[in-house]
């Protein structure tokens, strides 16, 4: 799972039928220091996240489909939680 920030959303009319009725978010994965980690991705929303939220992102098909509740659907990323805080042990960078 990755730490990420919701930076926007996306509207699509023409899409796979199993994607209907679910919010599609643009999500930017983050490093621990809050900087961007690679490019932003498109993820389905399983927890009603909004723009600006720091969230937990799964990037594997089975977990994403299970979280969104659409089995056998072409979904490979989903937002599955909000992050309230992160504690690191001293000396870890």
């Amino acid at each position: 799972m990755l730490i990420a920030r919701v930076i926007g959303d996306l509207v699509a009319t023409q899409k796979h039928a199993s994607h209907e009725g679910r919010k599609i978010l643009l999500v930017q994965p983050l490093n621990l220091d809050g900087s961007d980690r690679g490019d932003a991705v498109v993820a389905f929303d399983a927890v009603d996240a909004g723009v600006g939220d720091r969230v937990l992102l799964v990037t594997e098909g089975f977990s994403a489909m299970t979280a969104v509740g659409r089995p056998q659907s072409p979904i490979d990323m989903a937002v599955i939680g909000f992050i309230d805080g992160i504690d690191l042990i001293p000396g870890v960078e």
Binding site: R5, I7, G8, D9, L10, V11, A12, T13, Q14, K15, H16, H19, I24, L26, Q28, L32, D33, G34, S35, D39, A40, V41, V42, A43, V51, G52, R54, E60, G61, A64, M65, Q72, S73, P74, I75, D76, M77, I83, G85, I86, D87, L88, I89, P90
Partner: protein, 106 residues
């Protein structure tokens, strides 16, 4: 899933039987600001996307799910055509919002 733009299409006469009749598109991955990023790839298509359209595509085993019960050996498939994007990136200064709390050494 990832954002991309359709920049071409691919023909193949000899291919896996499960892929017969499927469209194959050349996709350029994009950032949310619609700048090109990374290398182009070939995707199957389940939406009917045309040249120049902004799409999103799924990677991995999930790429074969739109074609069930057929299981084409695809690892990327276009699964939606993007109508609009709303991007609200926080200013750089706000990157320290929700900082990581490092425990003080005791």
């Amino acid at each position: 899933m990832y954002l991309g733009r359709v920049v071409g299409c691919v023909w193949a006469t000899v291919k896996h039987p499960a892929m017969v009749g499927q469209r194959m598109l050349v996709i350029q991955p994009l950032t949310p600001e619609l700048q090109s990023t990374g290398k182009r790839l070939v995707c199957l298509d389940c939406t009917g996307a045309g040249a120049g359209e902004i799409i999103y595509y799924a990677r991995g085993k999930e790429a074969s799910f739109p074609f069930l019960p057929a299981e084409p050996p695809a690892d990327a498939t276009v699964v939606g055509i993007v109508d609009t994007l709303h991007v609200q990136r926080a200013p750089k200064a706000a990157a320290s919002r929700n900082p990581v709390h490092k425990k003080a050494r005791k």
